[in-house]
């Protein structure tokens, strides 16, 4: 991931780069581009190799013959998916970004008073831009992708506790992970085909269970306790099947 910061105010540019350097602990492949001259950047764009996971921080008001919006339009000619974040001192400037089909990831109102807030916003924005990137998931090999309507959602299969098909909600499933629960538009049968991991138990009709994340099974109360204190209430018959699957999985290992 290459990050470009195009900002005419050197002090503010340094500040953003300082925040980005701090983000390197989270985004190990973050690389800051040396191209920073806002006066020549327009001519530099055609020479760049822009990847989908590259991020551009563009100041809207560059005080030159072109604006950050012009730069963004030029960048979009070469890559429609890379992330563009506009920098602006006042939010009214951001109005002109709309209706240009630039589809920016967001805009950052320069507020260097509260550094922790600005850093948090920058981190969140980069995180959002990197979800599709392979490198982002390098240490978590079990990335799974679910399509829910217009959205593509990414989960780490190892973090999933269970997936449950919801009765009364046509074509919706509940995905419970260690720290999140989400209801998405998807069919459980389709998800079962996607999840080929050996620790995923897909033989139950309405559930997919991550055997790795089970902490305890309470047959009497018909409950399964997962990591992250996630509790699943399911019938005794299903409990027996899970127990059996857990036994087979443990034996295989």
């Amino acid at each position: 991931m290459i990050i470009y910061v195009i900002e005419d105010d050197n002090q503010q540019r340094k500040q953003i780069i300082h925040y980005l350097n701090e983000c390197k602990t989270i985004f190990f492949d973050l690389e800051l581009s040396r191209l920073s001259n806002h006066l020549t950047f327009m001519e530099d764009i055609p020479k760049l190799t822009i990847n989908d996971n590259d991020v551009f921080f563009l100041d809207i008001d560059l005080k030159t013959t072109y604006t950050g919006i012009d730069l963004a339009l030029e960048i979009r000619k070469y890559n429609t998916k890379c992330s563009i974040i506009f920098l602006t001192s006042l939010e009214d400037k951001a109005i002109s970004v709309l209706n240009n089909n630039i589809f920016p990831l967001g805009y950052l109102i320069k507020n260097f008073k509260d550094s922790s807030e600005t850093k948090e916003i920058i981190t969140e924005m980069i995180k959002k831009s990197q979800l599709t990137s392979k490198n982002f998931w390098r240490f978590k090999q079990d990335k799974v992708t679910f399509s829910s309507g217009s959205e593509t959602l990414f989960f780490n299969a190892r973090d999933i506790c269970y997936i449950q098909s919801l009765k009364g909600f046509n074509g919706r499933v509940l995905v419970k992970t260690l720290n999140e629960e989400t209801i998405i538009e998807a069919k459980i049968g389709k998800i079962k085909k996607q999840l080929q991991q050996d620790y995923m138990m897909t033989s139950l009709q309405s559930y997919i269970i991550n055997l790795e994340n089970i902490i305890s099974i309470d047959r009497k109360n018909e409950q399964i306790l997962f990591d992250g204190q996630q509790l699943l209430s399911i019938g005794a018959k299903s409990i027996d099947k899970v127990k059996k699957a857990l036994q087979v999985y443990s034996d295989d290992r």
């Binding site: 939010e91 951001a94 970004v97 589809f103 990831l105 109102i109 919706r172 509940l174 629960e181």
Partner: protein, 436 residues
Amino acid sequence: MIDNVYFVFLLSINYILAIWMIAYKQFLSIRESLGLTSLLVIQGIISIWFNNTYFTSLLLLFFIAQFIFVTRKLNDWLISSLLLVFEDAIILISWLPTIDLWNILLLKRVVSPDTYMTYLFFLVIAQQLLLALLFLVTRYILKRSAVLNALALLPKKHRGLSLTILFCLFFSIGLQQSGVFNGYSVAYFYSTFIVIGFTVFFSWNIFLLTKYYKEKQYSMLLAEMYAGEKQKIELATKFRHTYKELLADLTVDLKAKNLDHASQKLSNIIDYSDSFLTPNLYRKISMVNTPSIQGLLTNFIRKCDTASIDLTIQVTQDLSSSAMNLVDFIRCFSIILDNAYEAALISPEKSIFIEIEGDPDYITITIKNTYIENSEIALQDFFQNNFSTKENHQGKGLHIFSKIVASYKKATYRISKKDHFFILVFSVPKLKNPTV
């Protein structure tokens, strides 16, 4: 002249065209459209079978049924009655240069009865084609001008106006029918002229009414924004008075190398000017570019401000290109805003984050709010009918929201609980050719 029996049959076909080319989807569901079509088919067949033109009065049944269906769906009398008037006017217009003209030529003996009969079939086909073309144009205009949205957003129900329109329609149709039954061609042409005339008259007046309301709404928004800006300017004027003083103090401290004191002064300046520099939410929502939604968000900002809820809004996409009916969109948006407000209001850390973003095909709205976690409530319970965590609450909001979203093919939503936040992501497809 064309046999009166076939006249009824042709009218039935005309209205079937109207159902499928104009009313279906926008005003009627598939079931209602099929029901009305069946009614018209039965009416057409019966009139030929019994060879009786009085079966035309069965059209009244069709009008009533369509009026009820459309009113039920849109909860708007005015749109229902206008739809009937427009359908009728367009059908009449399509008859004028085709079959009616042919009839006049026969009556005036310009064409012989033999020639009349030979070419009548082609004239009937021409009338159907012209009608289809007129319906296509009407559908395009309705889509482009977003008239329906403007009508649906009128603050009053306008039931009186709606009834007047219906009375005029039925009266002129009555006149027209008596002209047909009694062979009074002059009465027929006069009544046709009356129907088209009063359709134009009502349309023009309603156009002026919607325009007036739109402008009123816009001026209200501007007044609110003006009040906000005025407040900022007053603050800036105050700030200017003390700014020089603060700078002078700071310079003295720096010269004396009294850094701690200088740093404290700087913090004071920042705190003092904080509200002047923090993002102006009213300006942000002006990017939404749809006055009615701006109004909704303006009220929401004010509500959050009064309740001391920390509100963040990020807009990178305007909403004018949404393919969802504006009234439905506003209903959905207000439900999820209310839901976020009520949850955040009782939570210890009151915070709401709204993001409106887009890509070439979709508009996505994300609402993230704090809430009181209760492990006994499952996430799916929020969408059950009559479910509410609060007393004296009907608990219908999110259930209605899910139903509205489900009625749009490509619209979707997702809900999550993550890091002590309740998150609702709502996506609607974009219009291929947005009007604005």
